[in-house]
Structure formats: structure tokens, C-alpha cells
């Protein structure tokens, strides 16, 4: 049952990206949009557009009834959720199927299993995928706690079983500290949550964020290698690359094989990403969670493998078997993506919506800019600040960084403050050049370099 008419239940650059993939497959497109997005590029590019509600996302992009009604009225036979909004909402996936439509993503049950952190951890362990070492569940016996802490190795994190919001968390660097902190954490947890139960987890210091792209057709899965996204601000990725510059080949093989094993264990369908923490020093990786959707940073994988991930997910969900075997997936060169956001780096990344008065886009070899911008476009204040993603590819990482500097120099978005100056500074940084970073590297770097961003 191939898809003939695809409804895009998203907005911004990813809606544009989905429309492009659909058009190349000869699929007609329906763009649903809020009242604030009537003039968006996706609406202009799609074959049809339907207004599904007011600007507030809860009343439009998260309004399941209106989205399904729009599909019915236009005769769409499939729904692509993009990322964010309803993309990882199992009930939405179920509702789309119950309406007789194809959900371009995994089955609701796979979203349910992988979306629950405990269930995902259990599924990962069952598939033989390493997880962050810790107590499997709560421990109340102090002697048992000490034994587990010794077994996983210090430093360890002591967390409240009933916890949340960071309360009740202690980090112990040795057994002496552990014995002092354990009763404190328990008392605080009891006071805060009425339950003194604790669990413990190994602290991975200076971890890198490395993730594996997979494609599955419900029976078989393949990986498309890894991406490294260690440069983060407030847990938001700002700079992403493929492949990771630091992963030895034998570790890469094991990492990617583990992702395929877990994807096949849950009969995964579509494009998905398994996120891991990676410890440079020990070369150990630990599964943290799975994203059951296309990701913002998917283009770096497309650049090194030549596989169009959006096209493949649409074909697979339309009923075709996976078109690649694992040995047909090869990587070549190095790709980097930076997120161009409507934020002012000189003012602590304050959001800066407004009107695009002029636009000069970068081009040339190995250069791609995925965006919804056009001259005269008014960036609405109601949604996230992503304006576009600048992606470059070159033979080596060093050349890719040089190309990124060149492409950033070409990019000019008139009328808006953007994160371009941040990326220009990162692209000339020595630690970045050496890929000498981890997930907590960028925030102190931003404090130290604030004066360079304030001009």
C-alpha cells in the first residue's frame, strides 16, 4: 500500500524537508498549519494546505482531532509527524492507524516501550546493549548499597527513587563519602517525597554524546553509523558531526551492532536513533535512550552515507522492505551541522523573532542549508527558534571545519540576530579542531568566551 498523499503534521525546516522527499517520490503533499504559519515556506511548497487552529501549538500542531480531520477532508493516506510535537506520541500513532492512515514512523507499541526510560533500559539489557551501570531499581539496605557502589566503581550518583527535579541527588567519589552521603540523601528524599528509597548509578564524567542512526522495516534493521553531538547548551545540541572523530573502528563496530540488535528486538520500523554516553578513557559506551523519529541532525548522516533518510522512512512505511543490506551502507568523508537559531549570543541567547529583511545563502561544493527562511518571512514567536541548519561535507574533518568557516562567512540573515557568531567562534577554536570536548564542555566555554560574542 504505497503512500500517494502525505499530510505533514509539523512546521519549519523539517516540514520543508519532508515535502522535498515526498515530491521526489511523486507523492502529493498536504501541509497543515497554525494561523501564524499561513505564510510559511512549507505552506507555499505543499500541494495543499489546511489551517488547523490558532498559533498556540496545543490548539494546532498538537490538536489530534483537527489533524485527522484535515487528513480526511484532503484524502491524505499517510501522516508524517517530523520531530517534536506529536512525533513520539504513541496515542497519536495509534489514532492515525485507527483512522485507516499510515503513520510514517514506528508502531505505537514500539514508541511506548522505547519512550519509557525504565522499559527502554530493560529492553536494552535484554538485547545485550550496555546501559549505565547501577542498581536495577531501589535499594533500602545500606550494606547492599555499599556492595553495589563498590561493584560499579566510584564516582556514583545517589538518587531518590521517588525523586525528580534534581532533589535528593548526591555524588560520592569514594566509600568514605558514600557512607556519609547515603543517610543524608535518604533523609532528604524522605522529607521531600515521603519515601527514603534510593537507587545508585555510575557517574560518567566527561562523557561524549554519541548516537547511532538506524533504519528498520519491522523485521530487519541496519545502522547508518554514528553522529557525535557533544557540543550542547542547556541539553540542546548546537553542533553535530558524523562520524565521531574519536571512536576507534572496533568500538564503532560494537556500538553500531548493539543499536541494530536493540532495533530488531523491538521490531523497529522507520528511522530511529539510539543515544549513548561514551567514555573516552575506558572506551565504554552506555545506552541512554532511543528517539523514535527522524532527528534534527539527520543530514550529517545523509552526507557521509549518501542515503536519503526521509525518502527511506516514507518508502518503508509505505510497505516496502528495507532497500539496503548492511554492507551496502558505506561512509565517506566527514560532515558537520550547526544550528542557526533566532537567538542573540551576545544577550545570553535571548530569542529574537522578527522579519527577514535580506537573505544570502551559502553554496558551493559540499554545502547544504536546510531552512524555511525566505526574504520577507516573518519568524513567528510561538515556536522553537531553529531557523535552519548549515551542513557541510568534505574529505576530512579538518577540511570540513574549513568549509564550515567559509560557508558561515557566506551566510547572511538580515533583520534577525542569529547564532552564526557562536559557530564562527567554535569553528576557529583549538579544542573543537582537536575534537577535545564532552557534553559539559560548551557551557563553561561560553562563559569564558562571552566577551568575544558580545560585539
Amino acid at each position: 500500500m504505497a503512500i500517494t498523499k502525505l499530510l505533514i503534521a509539523n512546521r519549519g525546516e523539517i516540514a520543508v524537508r519532508i515535502i522535498r522527499a515526498a515530491k521526489e517520490l511523486g507523492i502529493r503533499t498536504v501541509q497543515v498549519h497554525s494561523a501564524a504559519d499561513a505564510e510559511s515556506l512549507a505552506v507555499k511548497m505543499a500541494d495543499e494546505a489546511v489551517n488547523i487552529g490558532p498559533p498556540h501549538a496545543a490548539k494546532s500542531y498538537l490538536n489530534v482531532l483537527n489533524i485527522l480531520e484535515a487528513a480526511k477532508v484532503t484524502g491524505a493516506d499517510a501522516v508524517h509527524p517530523g520531530y517534536g510535537f506529536l512525533a513520539e506520541n504513541a496515542a497519536f500513532a495509534d489514532a492515525v492507524e485507527a483512522a485507516g492512515l499510515i503513520f510514517v514512523g514506528p508502531k505505537g507499541d514500539a514508541i511506548r516501550v522505547m519512550g519509557d526510560k525504565v522499559a527502554a533500559r530493560v529492553a536494552a539489557e535484554a538485547a545485550g546493549v550496555p546501559v549505565v551501570p547501577g542498581s536495577d531499581g531501589r535499594i533500602d539496605d545500606p550494606e547492599q548499597a555499599k556492595a553495589i557502589a563498590l561493584a560499579i566503581g566510584f564516582p556514583v550518583m545517589i538518587k531518590a527513587a521517588a525523586g525528580g527535579g534534581g532533589r535528593g541527588i548526591r555524588i560520592a567519589h569514594d566509600m568514605h563519602e558514600f557512607e556519609t552521603l547515603m543517610p543524608q540523601a535518604s533523609a532528604e528524599a524522605k522529607a521531600a517525597f515521603g519515601d527514603g528509597g534510593l537507587y545508585i548509578e555510575k557517574v560518567i564524567e566527561k562523557a561524549r554524546h554519541i548516537e547511532v542512526q538506524i533504519l528498520g522495516d519491522g523485521r530487519r534493521a541496519i545502522h547508518c553509523f554514528e553522529r557525535e553531538c557533544s557540543l550542547q547548551r542547556r541539553r540542546q545540541k548546537v553542533w553535530e558531526e558524523a562520524p565521531s572523530a574519536v571512536l576507534p573502528q572496533d568500538v564503532r563496530d560494537k556500538l553500531c551492532a548493539s543499536a541494530v540488535a536493540l532495533a530488531e528486538a523491538v521490531n523497529y520500523r522507520g528511522a530511529g536513533t539510539l543515544e549513548y554516553l561514551y567514555d573516552d578513557e575506558t572506551q565504554h559506551f552506555y545506552f541512554i535512550e532511543m528517539n523514535t523519529r527522524i532527528q534534527v541532525e539527520h543530514p550529517v548522516t545523509e552526507m557521509i552515507t549518501g542515503i536519503d533518510l526521509l525518502r527511506e522512512m516514507i518508502l518503508i512505511c509505505g510497505g516496502e522492505p528495507l532497500r539496503y543490506t548492511q554492507d551496502q551502507v558505506r561512509m565517506k568523508g566527514h560532515a558537520i551541522e550547526v544550528r542557526i537559531n533566532a537567538e542573540d549570543p551576545a544577550k545570553n541567547f535571548m530569542p529574537a523573532p522578527g522579519t527577514v529583511t535580506s537573505l544570502r545563502l551559502p553554496g558551493g561544493p559540499g554545502t547544504r542549508f536546510d531552512t524555511m527562511l525566505y526574504q520577507g518571512y516573518q519568524v513567528p514567536p510561538f515556536y522553537d527558534s531553529l531557523l535552519g541548519k548549515l551542513i557541510v561535507w568534505d574529505e576530512t574533518r579538518e577540511r570540513a571545519i574549513t568549509r564550515m568557516r567559509r560557508a558561515l562567512d557566506e551566510l547572511e540573515v538580515g533583520g534577525l540576530q542569529t547564532t552564526k557568531p557562536l559557530h564562527q567562534l567554535l569553528a576557529t577554536d583549538e579544542s573543537v579542531a582537536r575534537a577535545d570536548f564532552h557534553t559539559r564542555w560548551l557551557e563553561p566555554w561560553l562563559e569564558a568566551n562571552a566577551h568575544k560574542l558580545s560585539s
Binding site: A36, H56, A58, P351, P353, P381
Partner: protein, 76 residues
């Protein structure tokens, strides 16, 4: 009498979170500096504070999309 204008474009909220009561109700007394609402701009939340003392009457609804410079409330 003073109109309190939205400093930013975005979504206006009269409550600190959906399950909490409003910061202020129509007719409440407010003092300069009191938080009377939030403006959400691109997922970041900014407090809106009264600029004078008096009784407040709202001119924008909870969750209403607002433009920069649009009146949010009147303080008399």
C-alpha cells in the same frame, strides 16, 4: 491610569503554570514590580511586571498570542 504593554511578541499567560491560579484577577490591587503574567517567546518564558501601583484590569486573555506593544492590562 496606565496601560501595561507587552515587551515582546509571543504567547501571554496569566498563570505561572496551567494547574496554578492566575497571578492576578481583574480588580486586584497590584504594586509596581508585581509579576502579573508571562510572555513565552520561542519556548523561553519572560515575566511581565506591573510598572505602577493600582487596580488591574486585563486586556489580553490567558494563552492569547500578542504582539510587542500590545496592551496586556490597564492599571488604574
Amino acid at each position: 491610569m496606565a496601560q501595561l504593554l507587552s515587551p515582546l511578541p509571543g504567547t501571554f499567560y496569566r498563570k505561572p503554570s496551567p494547574d496554578k491560579p492566575s497571578y492576578k484577577e481583574d480588580g486586584d490591587s497590584v504594586a509596581k514590580g508585581d509579576v502579573i503574567g508571562l510572555i513565552e517567546v520561542m519556548k523561553s518564558f519572560n515575566e511581565v511586571k506591573a510598572e505602577s501601583d493600582g487596580k488591574i484590569t486585563f486586556m489580553a486573555e490567558n494563552e492569547e498570542p500578542v504582539m510587542a506593544g500590545q496592551p496586556l492590562a490597564e492599571i488604574v
